[in-house]
């Protein structure tokens, strides 16, 4: 099942090759360009095209970022998951180097791009994608030194994400616990999907090679330690760790132990599929008076405790694409008509728990439509919000121990926040 990429292409929005790196000499740029331009011409909208396509014995895998496509080509049965993920990592690395990855920045940095492609992949096998470490030995013009560099130890070390000899005056760690609530409510008002995806986002400013240990109120762990934990412990459905966490150790005794990378990274993500009550509930009644006028009555209700407050609440209400002359009234916040989105945006800066607000809107519908016309695109109501100092899961960081051989004291800062993820309520 060995399989590797033949070449990696960076293409512009029309599918023309900007830069490419040939790894095996069995797929040409002309061939790839021909295939890909045909593909996007045919579909117009490349979104509809599945990201793995076989053409003439060559398999192409691609992703899009801004106005650039990244694509690998292979003649073998290569690992598609790994290649597509690799392309996403290439984006991350380029973003680290050039701030943003787009056609312009590729042209401006093609020398480094070639160097990176040479280092990140060899003979079509993904090799190394840690941007921080790469930038220690592949530098852009401004930072380039004439002295020859050596590969950082980290490239081949077991700890491939952190170099030795990092120094900070003040050793600090910031830990953000961010939970996104995903919810899908169908047109009958039933919650058909709800889950919470959490992430522990870390920013570390630590000297040396610190050993960290993180303690959570994880039920499995607490029970294993024989601690009674009344209502405080939580069950996490699926946990995913950054590669710095020792997985075998976690499997053994549920200890989260790691040497962190320098700077920001996601230490872990987890998922909870327990049904949660929608934090903000939106109901919309749409009435069509005759054929040319419609009225909308929207109720938004916060269903969390009064001491919490949701901020930056934004409710996107779909309206027909020909709506004009909006007449909007709200009991709180402000509403604007965004014709480019065919939607009404209702913004509420601060929405405390247990409150209910209303919006009334009237539109004229000038178009004359055929009775039997195909149905219009039915977009759902979408809600965005943030609730600081609150997590749905009740996850708590019990401790974050940092031990380094120099024996410094490090300060951990922990923040909690809940926000809306894919929060969709289908219209009735």
């Amino acid at each position: 099942m060995a399989g590797a990429a033949s070449a990696l292409f960076l293409l512009d929005i029309k599918g023309r090759v900007l830069v490419w790196r040939d790894y095996r000499g069995d797929v040409t740029a002309v061939q790839a360009e021909k295939f890909f331009t045909k593909l996007i011409e045919k579909d117009g909208d490349p979104d509809t095209q599945s990201p793995v396509v076989c053409d003439n014995g060559v398999s192409y895998m691609f992703i899009q970022h801004n106005n650039v496509y990244l694509m690998t080509a292979s003649r073998q049965n290569c690992n598609a998951a790994s290649h597509l993920l690799f392309l996403h990592r290439v984006v991350d690395v380029f973003k680290h180097y050039f701030e943003e990855l787009e056609e312009e920045s590729l042209r401006d940095n093609f020398v480094v791009v070639y160097e990176l492609l040479d280092e990140m992949m060899d003979f079509g096998y993904p090799q190394f994608t840690e941007a921080k470490i790469l930038s220690e030995f592949i530098k852009t013009d401004a930072y380039r030194m004439e002295v020859t560099q050596r590969p950082p130890m980290a490239v081949t070390n077991a700890v491939s994400w952190r170099s030795e000899g990092i120094r900070y005056k003040k050793n600090e760690v910031f830990l953000d616990v961010v939970e996104s609530v995903n919810i899908l409510v169908n047109s009958n008002g039933q919650i058909i999907r709800s889950d919470v995806v959490g992430a522990l986002k870390m920013r570390t400013y630590l000297s040396g090679m610190p050993e960290c240990k993180l303690g959570l109120n994880d039920r499995v762990l607490l029970e294993a330690q024989g601690r009674s934990s009344k209502g405080k412990a939580i069950d996490l459905d699926d946990i995913k760790f950054h590669q710095c966490v020792r997985l075998a150790r976690f499997e053994n005794d549920r200890t989260i132990a790691f040497i962190p990378p320098d700077g920001s990274f996601d230490l872990m993500t987890y998922r909870l599929s327990t049904q949660v009550k929608p934090l903000i509930w939106v109901e919309a009644q749409v009435e069509r008076h005759s054929r040319s006028r419609m009225e909308m009555m929207v109720k938004a209700r916060s269903q969390f405790k009064e001491r919490s407050t949701a901020t930056n609440v934004e409710i996107e209400l779909p309206v027909p694409c020909d709506a004009t002359n909006p007449n909007l009234r709200t009991s709180m916040g402000s509403a604007t008509y965004a014709p480019e989105k065919d939607a009404l945006i209702w913004k509420i800066k601060s929405f405390s728990g247990g409150k209910e607000y209303m919006l009334r809107a009237e539109f004229s519908l000038p178009s004359v439509t055929d009775e039997d016309a195909a149905p219009e695109r039915k977009a759902p109501i979408r809600v965005k919000f943030e609730i600081p100092y609150f997590t749905v899961s009740g996850i708590q960081v019990r401790y974050l121990k940092i031990i380094e051989k120099s024996g410094y004291q490090a300060l951990p800062w922990v923040r909690y926040i809940t926000m809306a993820g894919e929060y969709e309520l289908r219209l009735i």
């Binding site: 099942m1 060995a2 399989g3 040939d22 000499g25 095209q49 599945s50 990201p51 793995v52 076989c54 014995g57 398999s59 003649r75 073998q76 049965n77 290569c78 598609a80 998951a81 790994s82 597509l84 993920l85 050039f98 701030e99 312009e104 401006d108 093609f110 020398v111 480094v112 070639y114 160097e115 060899d122 096998y125 993904p126 090799q127 190394f128 030995f137 401004a142 020859t148 560099q149 050596r150 590969p151 077991a158 491939s160 169908n186 047109s187 058909i192 995806v197 699926d238 995913k240 760790f241 590669q243 976690f250 499997e251 996601d266 993500t269 998922r271 599929s273 695109r377 894919e422 969709e424």
Partner: protein
């Protein structure tokens, strides 16, 4: 940190090349560097700058790493077009490979490997040898991959210079990155070689599992993928491996997770403890679900794989159907795959919610997605008998919305529902007829016409409805014409009145004289003759009972599924095709025994993958081979020709061809079956490998054999001898095997007979075989006789006979066995499978949620077997009981049944 390299692109003066030449030869370092950058910029935009080869190579000897990299890059691109000049670079390469800086050593050996010029390759060997043993792991990891590069260019050189052994040593390297790259290189070399080069022993296994904990995420993928080839010796070892791999499910890298899932699934096949298996299924579900939060492209790969996984292990995600509900912003390719999985996971428990979703999707804007959603409703109706009515009412609601393509799609699936549940839902026909005028797609039209013909006696104005189509007969596409022909004949047979009589004349005239489509003409003439000679016979043929269609949601054949599951995360699992169907560069020497199983796969483009085939609902049993134009989906045709054919094989046998007419169309015409088991491995046969198995074809027993010659000489004069055995099996003729050249193979079918020459003593399934040839000594090996090959075609029993036999045999002759690993997903499919193996269905009854099936069979020497199977659909585990005069046959029988049901 943004650069300003774009300025290098902007030299468009006329004398560009000479100008660059001057600059490249400048005495100033910076100017030379800028010039090389301009050359690379020109190369990037596709200009031919190969004429500057010598000048660029002259810049190669530099202390400046950036400049060196650019020159190397230039060399990779143009060395092939200037092979003679490329030799100029060799000295610098060799020098660089000894540089004190490991970055430069690695760079040199990495680049040399990319230059596919023979002359350079010769000089690569010495530096590579050194670099493989370099002190610095960065150099060693680069050199490991370079061995694979060299093997790709010149395999012999790699073997002669002993690089393979050095590479194998690197598996024990103390650096995990080096280990991972060595594994990747070895796996690739193995893939392209016919000799065993990289065989994972339990010793390597241990080393690799340890390295797994330490290497980079990409390295973990290499190792897991390579290890998935490892076959554990027993259940215990499998459990140990799984235990070491499961922590990987927690990795943030989706590719690591998928490769870990692949390994666990493969090892699970060996694990016998149901508790362990259940536990593993439980452990795998959350990570699989989490894959759906990844980037859409990764989700797509994950979904294609989950599609395969749920076919093998439906329980893993049985309770997770909600995570496959489509989100508004999902790209269409993700939505399509989610839909496919929703159908697979739909059950009586969740069908209401699923239908609500499908209904929602059917009102979206993307036409393809909407159609697929409508089709999904139909497929659920066919799959879930108890939900069929609810599915139909949703379809009717959708028809009422009157969106043209929704109506047409709904009619197509309703036709399939009618075929699945005949004479159950005709009350809705009136509603369907209302939409008659809006139909403009051939498939929808054909479906509607089929419905009218099939239920002509219940539709008062069936003749008027059909007549309205007849006017445009000559303009209709062939599929509609065929349907019209059959439907009119049906109408006439059901209502032989004046109107239909006139219609039939018009149609027959149109379909014989006026057409140049041979399919249509042939069918029309057959009907014509039938009608004119014997209308009663015509009734028997045209109105014969049709075979019932079944759920096709687990459509992938079991052996293919095995192969695809072994390829999880790879392209093969995304395409749902075996690797050899799309990989062009494969080893050439050994022809894989199952190559011929996928004759179309390799020719047609990927776009017609099996998943697309799956979109076509209810597979109509198609009469194979009657015509090259035979459309694949034609209920009417199937109804008219194939069904009676099954009952009259003698009469129509020559028309239908030799194969069993009930074989689904996607199976090959000549049954090759799964790969044969190896009985004499090459290692014990001094290079000769023999695989063989008893099979049964057309009522005769054959010994299907495959000889693979891995020796250095040609082998000929093959002979075979069977020892006396319980069954009296012996060869019916001499073994006919041509001379086999080294590196090639030969297949043969040896006809067998059952003689009276039976070995005395207790019965045994062992078949002792001796094979000799002119070049080697005599080889002895043992085969195990499968009862499957010995069940005769005439084992069908009348119900009364069965009951009587059952009663006449004492209870002591009844043996029961549980087959825990077997799942019955659909009773029909299971019965079909059993029937194909000559175990015939007699009756079934339902007991609580259990299905109890009664079947009969007969051995070739006349011993009847009475079979009772008890199973719960969809739940693994099946109880198998038989009554039989000779109890010794029971264990053999259980083995055979298990083999059939596991596929």
């Amino acid at each position: 940190m943004s650069g300003h390299d774009s300025k290098y692109f902007s030299t468009t003066k006329k004398g560009e090349i000479p100008e660059l030449k001057d600059e490249l030869n400048s005495q100033y370092k910076d100017k030379r560097k800028d010039a090389v950058k301009k050359v690379i910029a020109a190369m990037t935009v596709g200009k031919d700058v190969s004429s500057l080869f010598t000048d660029v190579v002259n810049c190669m000897q530099t202390e400046n790493l950036e400049l060196k990299k650019l020159v190397y890059l230039y060399l990779i691109n143009y060395a092939k077009s200037q092979p003679d000049l490329a030799i100029l670079a060799v000295n610098t390469f060799v020098k660089d490979s000894q540089d004190p800086n490991p970055l430069i050593r690695a760079l040199a050996v990495r680049t040399m490997g990319c230059i596919r010029v023979d002359k350079i390759t010769e000089y690569l060997c010495d530096p590579l040898q050194k670099c493989l043993k370099d002190d610095d792991p960065y150099v060693r990891k680069t050199a490991s991959i370079c061995v694979a590069k060299l093997y790709d260019i010149n395999a012999e050189l790699v073997e002669d210079r002993g690089f393979l052994d050095t590479l194998k040593d690197l598996i024990s390297d103390n650096n995990p990155m080096v280990v991972a790259n060595a594994v990747a290189a070895l796996a690739e070399i193995q893939e392209n070689s016919t000799r065993p080069i990289f065989e994972i022993t339990s010793n390597t296994l241990a080393k690799l599992l340890t390295a797994l904990n330490e290497c980079t995420e990409w390295g973990q993928v290499f190792i897991l993928d390579a290890l998935s080839k490892y076959k554990a010796a027993d259940a215990r070892e499998a459990e140990n491996i799984v235990e070491r791999v499961t922590p990987r499910l927690q990795h943030a890298n989706c590719a690591v997770v998928l490769s870990a899932v692949k390994m666990i699934l493969l090892q699970m096949e060996l694990i016998t403890s149901t508790d362990v298996v259940r536990n593993l299924c439980k452990k795998m579900a959350p990570p699989l679900v989490t894959l759906l939060s990844a980037e859409p492209e990764i989700q797509y790969v994950a979904l294609r794989n989950i599609n395969l996984i749920v076919q093998r292990r439906p329980t893993i995600l049985a309770h997770e159907i909600k995570v496959f509900f489509c989100k508004y912003n999902d790209p269409i390719y993700v939505k399509m795959e989610k839909l496919e999985i929703m159908i697979k996971l739909a059950s009586d428990r969740n069908i209401d919610q699923v239908l609500l979703e499908f209904k929602e999707y059917a009102t979206e804007v993307d036409v393809d997605f909407v159609r697929k959603a409508v089709r999904a409703i139909g497929r659920c109706a066919i799959k879930l008998e108890r939900a069929a009515e609810r599915c139909i009412s949703v379809l009717l609601e959708l028809i009422k919305i009157k969106v043209n393509y929704v109506v047409q799609e709904a009619i197509i699936v309703i036709k399939d529902i009618f075929r699945r549940y005949p004479n159950t839902y005709e009350s809705i026909i009136a509603t369907l007829c209302e939409s008659l005028d809006t139909l403009d797609e051939p498939e929808a039209k054909a479906s509607m016409i089929w419905i009218i013909g099939e239920y002509a006696e219940r539709i008062d104005n069936a003749d008027e409805l059909l007549e309205s189509f007849l006017e445009s007969f000559p303009e209709e596409p062939a599929s509609v014409q065929l349907q019209l022909l059959t439907a009119t004949v049906k109408l006439f047979l059901k209502k032989p009145t004046e109107g239909p009589q006139q219609m039939i004349q018009v149609v027959l005239n149109n379909a014989t004289v006026e057409t140049d489509n041979p399919d249509l003409r042939d069918r029309a003439y057959i009907y014509w003759r039938l009608l004119s000679t014997d209308p009663e016979a015509a009734k028997d043929v045209v109105l014969a009972e049709k075979p019932v269609i079944s759920d096709d949601s687990n459509q992938i054949d079991s052996t293919l599924l095995d192969e695809l599951l072994a390829n999880i995360a790879t392209l093969s699992s995304v395409y749902h095709k075996p690797p050899e169907a799309f990989v062009s560069r494969v080893k050439t020497a050994i022809q894989r025994p199952d190559d011929e199983e996928y004759p179309d796969g390799s020719e047609t483009g990927y776009s017609e993958t099996s998943s697309h085939a799956a979109e076509s609902s209810g597979p109509a049993p198609t009469s194979s081979g009657t015509s090259p134009y035979a459309p694949t989906k034609q209920p009417g045709q199937a109804a008219g020709v194939a069904a009676p054919a099954a009952q009259m094989p003698d009469l129509l046998g020559d028309l239908i061809g030799l194969d069993n007419s009930l074989v689904p169309v996607d199976q090959p015409a000549t049954p090759t079956g799964p790969p044969l088991p190896v009985l004499l491995p090459a290692s014990s046969g001094e290079g000769l490998q023999i695989s063989a198995q008893l099979t049964r074809r057309d009522g005769q027993i054959f010994y299907s054999m495959l000889f693979e010659n891995n020796t250095q000489m040609a082998l000929d004069g093959f002979m075979i001898q069977f020892n006396k055995n319980t069954f009296g099996l012996a060869a019916a003729g001499p073994l006919q095997v041509p001379q086999i050249q080294p590196g090639t193979s030969a297949r043969t079918l040896l006809p067998m007979v059952l003689s009276q020459n039976v070995s005395p003593g207790p019965p045994s399934s062992v078949l002792q075989v001796a094979v000799k040839n002119n070049q080697q000594r005599v080889w002895y090996f043992n085969d195990k006789v499968s009862l499957l090959a010995l069940l005769s075609e005439d084992g069908r029993m009348e119900r009364a006979d069965f009951l009587e036999k059952w009663k006449s045999l004492p209870d002591s002759n009844e043996v029961t066995k549980d087959l825990p690993g077997v799942v019955v997903n659909s009773v029909e499919a299971t019965l079909d499978r059993l029937a194909a193996s000559n175990m015939f269905f007699i009756a079934k009854r339902r007991h609580a949620n259990q299905e109890v099936l009664y079947l009969s069979a007969k051995t070739s020497w006349g011993i009847p077997l009475l079979i009772e199977l008890t199973a719960i659909v969809g739940i693994p585990g099946i109880k198998c009981a038989i009554k039989i005069p000779n109890l010794e046959l029971a264990p053999l029988f259980f083995e055979a049944t298990e083999a059939v049901l596991k596929g």
